[in-house]
């Protein structure tokens, strides 16, 4: 209330306010009430409006939280009256349970008209003698009290009084006062609701503001209407306000935003935007690279809608960002290493293996990965380089071709290989490149690589440095840092071992191959009236010397001997057993021993060997004229393939040699006709398999069914390729075939 005395006003109109005045009052009251949400201001203005057009004195009282009644606005036409009344009310507050009309109206919620009040009436509700004197001295004459009711609750009351000789209030004045009071009540109620909301909002803000999770609230236009401190930190702005000030998409543009698989995401893929577009929005894992620093973060974005409770319309989306970079790094490193380990043991061809490792590292770990291997004579060979863009790979290949590294260079890969120490180069700039470059073109090529950071780690084998792995981040990709060094070192250790293994393997398989060749006949004999052919294929990986062997030779008595066998054992000892088997069988044949005795002789020879459990399975076939004799020792039965392609096994199964004693060996005889084919094979053929699916004897017989249409060589090729195809190109065991076909002319 203004302190200075209000100017004397006209006494309240002596005629009742007409329809126009009433309407004007209501309109003005409406405007006043809508202009502000501060009740003490608006109530004052409403009270002022009614004086003098409706009343000489207007008081608005409100119930407070403790059920006390206090005036919030007093307006009066006589100067000083308002102030005097307020002082009086302070000294004699109205009691809610009292007889004062305001208290009565507040209790009943019904308006009250006291058209004419005499002194006795005034005395009846006076709060004391001063109050009574005040009312009488100011000539209280006519009064009306209207309750302030909103949402069924009485908030207070509006009292209007006419003093002195003014016209008494009538029922229709009460109607107007009630209407004004009703509007005032609504305004007060709104203001209170608003302040409750504001208080709740402030509380919410305080809670959200202090959450560790980054939270933003976006409206349907894409604007950020709320952000907490954690969001400001995550999105790398100075404070939450900066996020509110940003235009939609502006914040996101400062990052490269990729999905889990490295595909770039735009704003519309974000779950919040998807919600506004009416789509469902699963939590999204985002790989986020800060454009300015190259820093990489992994963030889970969860969004939930805020709906208008009445219309169901989507008002806001709340985004919660969880930074899971640490967890994801560890997880990625582990899955990368386990994948790298898998790749590194899956092949023993180290060039191929390292190429795959390089591919694996891009783009998970770096933009580029190159592998250099130190050769026997100190030369550095780049065996692998990878980048997701083939053109960039070509560039890197040009670079390593034209500027090959030599071990004595002061920097980079040669220095790491010499020292065995890893190097991390960050903040690579033109000056650094210029120092390293050998000439302008070199510098150009280096610059085109666009490196932002480089890690070089030595690959260390059992006792020496075998090479180095170079990881490079470039362009906008995640920038490498010293944090990546442990992973790079693990990769290098693992690769170093793989190279060592591959070297040993290569060496061993070279020896194995040489031995194997020595164990097989250099050429097959020419058998009159027959064709003879053979195939041998060593299993791909994990090749062991030993394995299958075959032989074909003429016995002392002129008969032809066909021998096929399988030695199980490893390395040079098995090679020894293979040699022993071949030579013993030849020697036995020279002594004119029958097939069964040949096998028994070999069995005794094997048993005389110091090492136990060298197994040997053998099939011996003796061919004399058109008669064959078959003896088997633990070996699959040979097939006799008819001219129409039908085949059947020959011989009786017998015990393999060298392990069990006594052995059980039988001979079986058979006639063979021109055009028929005798096929000896090792178990690598029926056991060619993919998963659990074996080729089997049935499969072999099916392949043999092609015999009528094929030459003997053609048939063996057909069977070999068929077995290989059945094994998906990857034989697990050696495979040997030895076949003889009687020619038609021999008849």
């Amino acid at each position: 209330m203004p302190e200075q005395a209000a100017p004397e006003r006209e006494p309240a109109t002596s005629v009742h306010p007409g329809g126009d005045v009433a309407m004007a009052l209501l309109l003005e009251a409406g405007a006043v009430l809508a202009s502000s949400l501060d009740p003490s201001t608006t109530m004052g203005q409403v009270a002022e409006l009614t004086v003098p057009r409706l009343a000489d004195l207007c008081v608005i009282d409100l119930l407070d939280e403790d059920d006390g009644i206090h005036d919030v606005a007093v307006a009066a036409s006589r100067p000083g009256l308002a102030e005097e009344l307020e002082r009086l009310r302070l000294e004699h507050p109205l009691r809610r349970d009292g007889e004062h009309p305001v208290a009565q109206v507040i209790r009943s919620g019904e308006p009250m008209l006291l058209s004419r009040m005499d002194n006795a009436l005034l005395m009846s509700f006076a709060q004391g003698s001063r109050h009574a004197r005040f009312m009488i001295s100011h000539n209280y004459r006519s009064a009306m009290v209207a309750p302030l009711v909103a949402r069924g609750r009485t908030l207070g009351a509006l009292s209007a009084l006419r003093l002195g000789d003014g016209t008494p209030f009538e029922q229709k004045d009460l109607g107007l006062a009630t209407e004004i009071a009703h509007r005032a009540a609504l305004a007060i109620d709104n203001a209170r609701l608003y302040s409750d909301v504001q208080r709740a909002e402030r509380r919410l803000q305080a809670v959200l503001g202090n959450l560790a999770e980054a939270i933003t609230v976006i409206d349907s236009s894409g604007r950020t209407v709320f952000a907490n401190q954690a969001a400001a930190e995550l999105l790398q702005v100075p404070d939450p306000q900066a996020l509110l000030d940003a235009t939609p998409g502006e914040t996101m543009a400062r990052f490269v935003v990729l999905d889990e698989h490295g595909r770039e995401l735009d704003l519309h893929a974000m779950p919040g935007r998807r919600l506004f577009a009416g789509e469902s929005a699963e939590p999204l894992l985002v790989r986020n690279i800060v454009r300015s620093s190259g820093e990489e973060r992994w963030i889970v974005v969860r969004s939930s809608p805020v709906l208008d409770p009445d219309s169901g319309e989507m008002l806001y989306v709340v985004n919660v960002f969880e930074n899971i970079t640490e967890v994801k790094r560890v997880q990625l490193a582990e899955s990368f290493m386990s994948e790298a380990s898998r790749v590194l043991v899956s092949s023993l061809d180290y060039g191929d293996t390292l190429q795959r490792v390089a591919r694996l590292a891009v783009p998970t770990i770096a933009s580029w990965c190159a592998v250099d291997v130190l050769g026997e004579h100190g030369e550095i060979e780049r065996v692998a380089v990878h980048h997701s863009d083939p053109e960039m790979v070509a560039l890197a290949q040009r670079l390593s071709r034209d500027y090959s590294l030599s071990l004595d260079e002061p920097l980079g890969v040669p220095e790491v290989i010499r020292s065995g120490e890893a190097r991390v180069y960050t903040d690579i700039d033109v000056d650094a490149l210029a120092r390293y470059a050998r000439d302008d073109r070199h510098l150009q090529l280096l610059a085109a690589i666009g490196a932002t950071a480089v890690i070089i780690v030595p690959m260390i084998g059992a006792d020496r440095i075998t090479g180095a792995i170079t990881l490079v981040s470039s362009g906008l990709d995640r920038r490498l840092s010293a944090e990546d060094l442990p992973l790079a070192e693990r990769l290098a250790r693992r690769s170093g071992t793989a190279i060592e293994n591959a070297r040993l393997y290569t060496e061993r398989s070279r020896i194995a191959h040489t031995l194997q060749q020595a164990l097989l006949p250099g050429s097959l004999p020419t058998v009159p009236g027959a064709e003879v052919s053979a195939r041998y294929r060593a299993a791909g990986e994990l090749n062991e010397v030993g394995g299958d062997f075959y032989d074909a030779f003429q016995a002392e008595d002129g008969a032809w001997m066909l021998v096929i066998g399988d030695v199980c054992g490893k390395g040079s000892r098995a090679a020894g057993v293979t040699a022993l088997a071949r030579h013993t069988l030849r020697a036995a044949a020279l002594s004119e021993l029958a097939p069964r005795e040949m096998l028994l002789m070999l069995h005794r020879a094997l048993q005389a060997q110091p090492a136990d459990a060298d197994l040997c399975t053998v099939c011996v076939v003796r061919l004399q004229e058109n008669r064959v004799t078959v003896a088997l020792a633990g070996h699959p039965q040979p097939l006799l393939i008819d001219r129409d392609g039908k085949s059947r096994p020959l011989g009786r199964p017998g015990t393999l040699l060298g392990a069990l004693d006594p052995v059980d060996i039988h001979e079986a005889g058979e006639k063979i006709a021109p055009g028929q084919t005798l096929l000896l094979y090792t178990d690598g053929v029926p056991e060619a398999r993919q998963g659990n699916l074996l080729l089997g004897e049935d499969g072999l017989c099916r392949l043999a069914g092609a015999a009528p249409a094929l030459s003997l060589d053609g048939l063996l090729d057909h069977i070999e390729q068929g077995a290989l195809a059945h094994a998906g190109g990857n034989l697990r065991d050696d495979l040997a075939l030895l076949a003889l076909r009687l020619t038609e002319e021999s008849q």
């Binding site: 380990s341 898998r342 043991v345 399975t617 393999l656």
Partner: protein, 122 residues
Amino acid sequence: MTALPSESVGGEEHLRIDSRTAPDRIVIALHGELDLLGAPLLQQEIEQADVDSRGILVLDLQGLEFVDSAGLRVILAAHEHARQHGREFALTKGSEQVRRLLSIAGVDDHLRVIDAPDDVLV
């Protein structure tokens, strides 16, 4: 979080060996494939069993899908070792392929085959 796979050759587990001890025997049950890769694992297991006990050694092949000559070699070595040490040795039947290989190798007559790993040896 994925566990690191073992860094053994091949990576995937293609032979599983479960050993258990009964009052009169040790049963070594094989599942999957017994080949060049798996043979050393079985060898190890048998050596371990030899240290632990002097009862019957049973190789339970009911879960074995595939065996090759390298696997056969270990089985026969176990048989031979048991024979030399006066220890009983028996096995159960494996898959069709396993039975076929034992038959071709001519060793089924030399080995004691029982229907179930806990059957009494007769």
